[in-house]
């Protein structure tokens, strides 16, 4: 028990580096899907006795993050016939390095925050922050709209890790609401992405640069 949780979390931090280092969009989507599944396993391992509603939520979030959204993204990828290279603004190596620095800082920062005794030594806070940072990097340094959506998913994964600390005190309705917002968010992004593809025959957000001062 005490071993599983940190192990899973360390694996998800490794996934952060893999996500950032993915040189093509397919592996990018695959990696974020694996991370989403890891997060679900984590939340089961983290709860001492998983309640029915937790199992329900985990199943829903695993289906959505591990299968539903990735398969939608894969389909988008197939339909648009774009080059599958990630084409970041910031190179893959610098972004992985930045993430490493960020993870170090997250460890330091988390060390300064008080934790309840049952949450100590589990690496939950640094993992959450490091994953959040990964999502932020993806959102800001990638050109392809799909990578930006993956960035948003990664942000949500980071929050999901942290949210497990509060699962017991969070009303069910709120957790469902958060999940629903995630799905609708991705859905709306999907619609807009679809229109971008039709309008510009590309998913390169570089083309979206007409509006500026």
């Amino acid at each position: 028990m005490t071993q599983t949780v940190p192990t899973i979390l360390i694996l998800s931090v490794i996934m952060n580096f893999l996500v950032l280092g993915s040189s093509n969009l397919k592996s990018l989507i695959r990696n974020v899907a694996i991370q989403g599944l890891l997060m679900s396993v984590f939340s089961l391992a983290f709860a001492h006795t998983p309640s029915f509603r937790l199992v329900l939520l985990v199943l829903a979030s695993a289906t959505i993050k591990g299968f539903l959204i990735p398969s939608t993204l894969f389909r988008a990828l197939r339909e648009v016939h774009i080059r599958h290279e990630a084409e970041p603004y910031l190179g893959l190596v610098p972004s992985v390095l930045l993430c490493a620095v960020g993870t170090g800082l997250a460890l330091l920062f988390a060390g300064n925050l008080p934790l309840a005794s049952e949450h100590r030594g589990l690496l939950v806070v640094p993992t959450a922050l490091s994953t959040f940072l990964t999502g932020f990097l993806l959102l800001t340094t990638r050109r392809k709209a799909i990578s930006q959506v993956v960035g948003y998913l990664t942000l949500e994964n980071g929050i999901f890790v942290f949210a497990q600390l509060l699962h017991e005190s969070m009303p069910f309705l709120v957790e469902v609401g958060v999940l629903l917002d995630l799905v609708v968010g991705i859905f709306v992004m999907g619609i807009v992405m679809n229109h971008i593809q039709r309008e510009f025959s590309s998913l390169d957000t570089e083309r979206l640069s007409e509006l500026r001062d």
């Binding site: 925050l113 709209a145 709120v174 629903l180 709306v188 509006l211």
Partner: protein
């Protein structure tokens, strides 16, 4: 009753979705808005649902009242606007507008930090499709940027809410209800509250359009139809501001008031400075309005930051800014339609081609920049007074300086649009009509009233709300 006011617009959205006729939907929005307005004025401060998740408190009621009036005026304008745009289907537009009303109402009534977040995110998502109403490359770009920057903001806000939740968890009372957070505020873990406040300030600040995460605003306001601009600038941003006020209240109750105030003053002045820089020489008059919104959001957080009398000024400014923005955005929308352009190079002599909209655009500019006898003059003056009174001399000086720079910058653009002779080639044949000007006159009356004579009960209500925000129970 409380649930009803949230659900009513959702039901209307459903009806709008199944209605087959494009002609019936705009009146449906207006009818829903009027019902919503009637319900809003039936509510009383202190009303609550049995579980305490939704309740009317003075801060929320203020924002809800402004929102409801704003939405009603915009929906009346919408009847005229959608008639002009009858070439395109308005189903999605109508459904999204009504969902927006439901979600923002939810924000004003939510008494739970995470529920507030859910409603805020719902409001954001429903507006993304509204920005994309024109279905062209530019509005697509605006909608995408809005979604991307907005999702970073909303993610930060969620993480911040959870941080506050953890602070409560450590204090042994893990509830995210505002009432519980406030009554156990002394026991909240302060490092988590500080970290949470920073995240929430940046997160909801993004929704408000505070610098440095304001960059979605000029794009969204520039490309969205005028009435959506008014809804965003007077409705959405106020809701995000309400979220910030609620967080500020908890943070100060937890003993971190000084820390929070410093940040608010800094971000407020930064937003004003950014707005001043980008407004000077702005050639696109709708983008100019977006920067004006950045400026006024800056003024709001600055007012809360300096405290004292300025808090009352800020609450007044919430009302004044929203109603003045209606005049500005709707008249700008009309001018845009009449010329087929929103660039200063192509638009001149608006007051000749559209005597009413042109004159109101000019009046709106004078009002928003703080000229008497309009409402914003009173509220900005009160904030300035408060800043002097609490010894924020540097901030007060900068505040005045930015206001002057903005007046000059905005004035150059507005005058170029209003004065001169319109060129024949740019005429689209669009003219002022009753539906598209009446809402502006109504807002103008409100803005004038707020400048000349604030009704006694309203003033007493605002004073009470200001005391609540400053820590009174």
């Amino acid at each position: 009753m409380l649930l009803l006011i949230v659900i009513l617009p959702l039901v209307a959205a459903l009806i709008a979705f199944v209605l087959p006729s494009d002609r019936l939907r705009p009146p449906l929005i207006a009818v829903t808005a009027l019902l919503h307005l009637a319900l809003t004025f039936q509510l009383k401060v202190g009303e609550t649902t049995p579980d305490g998740w939704l309740a009317v408190d003075s801060l929320g009621y203020l924002i809800l009242g402004v929102l409801s009036i704003l939405f009603t005026l915009c929906s009346i304008y919408g009847i005229g606007y959608l008639r002009v745009r009858s070439d395109r289907p308005n189903r999605i537009f109508t459904v999204c507008m009504l969902t927006f009303l439901s979600m923002t109402t939810g924000v004003t009534l939510a008494q739970h930090l995470a529920l507030l977040w859910v409603a805020m995110e719902g409001a954001t998502l429903s507006t993304a499709m509204l920005i994309y109403f024109n279905r062209n490359a530019r509005s697509l770009e605006a909608a995408w940027k809005y979604l991307m920057i907005g999702s970073v903001g909303i993610a930060l806000a969620l993480l911040g809410s959870l941080f506050i939740g953890y602070a409560a968890f450590l204090s042994g009372n893990a509830s995210l209800l505002f009432h519980d957070l406030l009554s156990h505020s002394a026991a909240l873990s302060r490092p988590w509250v500080r970290a949470g406040f920073v995240l929430l300030l940046v997160g909801y600040g993004t929704k408000m359009g505070l610098a440095p995460l304001h960059t979605w605003k000029p794009d969204a306001y520039g490309e969205a139809p005028g009435l959506i601009g008014a809804l965003l600038a007077g409705g959405m941003t106020n809701c995000a501001f309400l979220a910030l006020m609620r967080i500020f209240r908890i943070t100060s109750a937890a003993g971190e008031a000084a820390f929070a105030r410093e940040l608010l003053v800094f971000i407020g002045l930064l937003s004003m400075a950014v707005a001043a820089v980008f407004m000077a020489g702005q050639r696109d008059f709708k983008r100019m309005l977006a920067y004006s919104s950045v400026e006024h959001m800056g003024i709001l957080v600055l007012g809360i930051g300096v405290g004292g009398l300025a808090v009352l000024g800020t609450l007044l400014h919430v009302i004044n800014n929203a109603f003045t923005k209606i005049i500005l955005f709707l008249s700008a929308g009309n001018i845009h339609r009449a010329y087929g352009s929103k660039r200063v190079e192509q638009v001149s002599g608006a007051i000749r081609r559209l005597p009413i909209s042109g004159a109101l655009f000019l009046t709106g500019f004078l009002a928003i920049t703080g000229s008497p006898p309009f409402g914003p003059f009173i509220s900005e003056f009160t904030i300035l007074n408060g800043a002097m009174e609490t010894g924020h001399y540097v901030s007060a000086t900068l505040f005045l300086l930015f206001l002057i720079v903005i007046f000059i910058g905005m004035g150059a653009t507005v005058l170029a649009v209003v004065q001169g002779t319109p060129s024949e080639s740019s005429d689209t044949g669009f003219r002022d009509s009753f539906w598209k000007t009446a809402p502006m006159f109504a807002s103008l009356a409100l803005v004038l009233m707020m400048g000349i004579w604030i009704p006694g009960p309203l003033y007493a209500f605002l004073e009470q709300a200001a005391r609540t925000l400053q820590g009174a129970p």
